[in-house]
Symmetry: C2
Subunit: 330 residues, 2 copies
């Protein structure tokens, strides 16, 4: 069962609950939020919802997007976000999803679930597409706006373990996001991290620019949460802009329309976060999926599949042990 | 006459000289680099080049992409890059273009041409596209990988003056690149800059995410050179990736091919740096155009038009005075 923060997200609760209805045929969902609102929405969207594997956990309070994360989590114990994380802690759910205040989700995950001991900071990881049509991973995509070189070094290690698991590559090629592919390029943070990664046992290929990332030079990109967030959101919005332009341009005939729509449909699966579901918060003791504030029903539906897929306790234990020795040995 | 660093760029000197040949019918070009190499290339590309408005300035040395910028500029006085900037200082050219080591170009511009007194740091500014098909400006796109809030504050002011000139908007809407549009979002740098811009007399609309930028919420985006570089290069490479996918997908007929090619052609003009020519270095005493390392002949051709267009000494003086009082009054 996956706990879903019903009140998190720019368009909550409608599309969040709709997403749960869409996924509930294969993923049992625990809807967390104000009981009356949830029930009203459920009956509105699907009067027969009770036949589905949907449970309600009442949480009367709401954390908004603009709230200071740590304060919000401390003061609002009965918010849908905090309660959803509590459900994982208490064993009522195997994972949690929120499209709400991502800082608050991270804080709640840290305070309530705790971090994996070998990592100082959790980080958000997700897939990026490349030219070749294969996938790569990138972290941190927004959990930490301020990072030190040691954090990025740890992100590289936790990212590699995740890449081994989800990409099935034994020695994933690790790149460091920079403003040039030359060794000398980068901010002070990048330059110091470069030195650390160069000396590590990882398959570190050096600095990468966005060109290198999207052309398939790496399997994993390491960056601080601020630039990672810019990278991810720029990718999504440029793709979305291109799609908009494709849809605006007058079509000569029906054949071209079919071709265009098929192109959009195919590429959506690579690029658009709504089809990816969300990103995983690595480095905490539990499965936590962070979704965009702008998530729609499809995003939430896919986030539920994702959370279900990544809850594999036996693999989690294995990876924790390996990552720990990995860092200690270097 | 525009001085062109013939040896700067990943594919130099061939495409650089080809670009000069393409623009020379309307922009007089001063080719700066090793005389024998330049002549050989010119005769190879256009045996009748001497009919064009092309002059050669001999500079035997080369600064490579990987060199430490400040050292390179200090040690290589007779490099094509340093000599090209010197040509502006000595009045032999009205502007300079290089697709070489951008750090070295900035250092040379600072040491040789000097900075405009009211600004502590120069910044790279260029156009970005948006959904609406209009343009906006963004700075800094890569000149400063480390910035303090005061620098970003000054970038906003120099950017606004440039926007007034090139976009013709009296009070351009200024946004600050962040990892969320809420006031509370951002790195420490962004948070402090937010406070400064909020109190300024500029038309500051607050934090913007890439979504906000590309949806047309702002006329000018302010960011540090590292994230700005990520923003710009991600935009370009995602667009280029989409174009690649468009070209890979099998076509049903000739009509669809024409439609697709016309789409690519149209959007290229918005998005691709090769059609934009390059970016302008603001805050130095002279017209300096920074091109991508990957510049091809078309980039250089357009960079020459750009450098020619922005050399308007009377406007430059006007803008300097206005920007100075703008900062002092606040």
């Amino acid at each position: 069962m996956i706990a879903l923060d019903v009140m998190g997200g720019d368009y909550a609760p409608g599309p969040i609950i709709q997403g749960a209805l869409q996924a509930a045929h294969s993923v049992p969902v625990l809807l967390v939020g104000p009981q009356d609102i949830i029930k009203r929405e459920l009956y509105k969207l699907d009067p027969l919802w009770e036949r589905l594997s949907i449970t309600i956990h009442h949480a009367p309070d709401i954390i908004t997007m603009a709230e200071e994360p740590v304060q919000a989590v401390r003061n609002k114990k009965f918010s849908s976000l905090v309660q959803a994380v509590m459900c994982v802690k208490e064993g009522r759910a195997t994972g949690v999803i929120s499209a709400g205040n991502s800082g608050a989700l991270m804080a709640a995950a840290l305070f309530i679930l705790g971090r994996e001991e070998q990592y100082e900071r959790p980080a958000i990881i997700s897939f990026l597409p490349n030219y070749l049509g294969t996938k790569l991973l990138a972290l941190d995509l927004g959990a930490n706006t301020e990072c030190r070189p040691g954090h990025l070094y740890q992100f590289a290690h936790m990212g590699v373990l995740h890449a081994q698991k989800v990409l099935g590559i034994e020695r994933p090629r690790v790149g460091l996001l920079s403003n040039g592919h030359e060794d000398s390029k980068g901010s002070l943070l990048v330059k110091e991290t470069f030195g650390l990664l160069k000396q590590s046992s990882l398959n570190f290929v050096g600095n990468v620019e966005p060109y290198g990332i999207f052309s398939g030079k790496v399997d994993l990109v390491v960056c601080d949460g601020f630039s990672g967030n810019v990278l991810l959101k720029t990718m999504e919005s440029v793709f979305s802009m291109t799609r908009f332009w494709l849809e605006q341009m007058p079509l000569p005939d029906e054949k071209t329309r079919i071709w265009r729509d098929s192109f959009i449909e195919k590429t959506n699966h690579y690029v658009d976060s709504r089809w990816q579901g969300g990103a995983l918060l690595l480095g905490v003791k539990g499965t936590v999926v962070v979704c965009h504030g702008s998530s729609d029903a499809r995003t939430i539906e896919h986030a539920l599949y994702l959370a279900q897929k990544y809850f594999q306790p036996e693999i989690k234990t294995g990876s924790t042990q390996r990552s720990f020795s990995g860092i200690v040995n270097e």
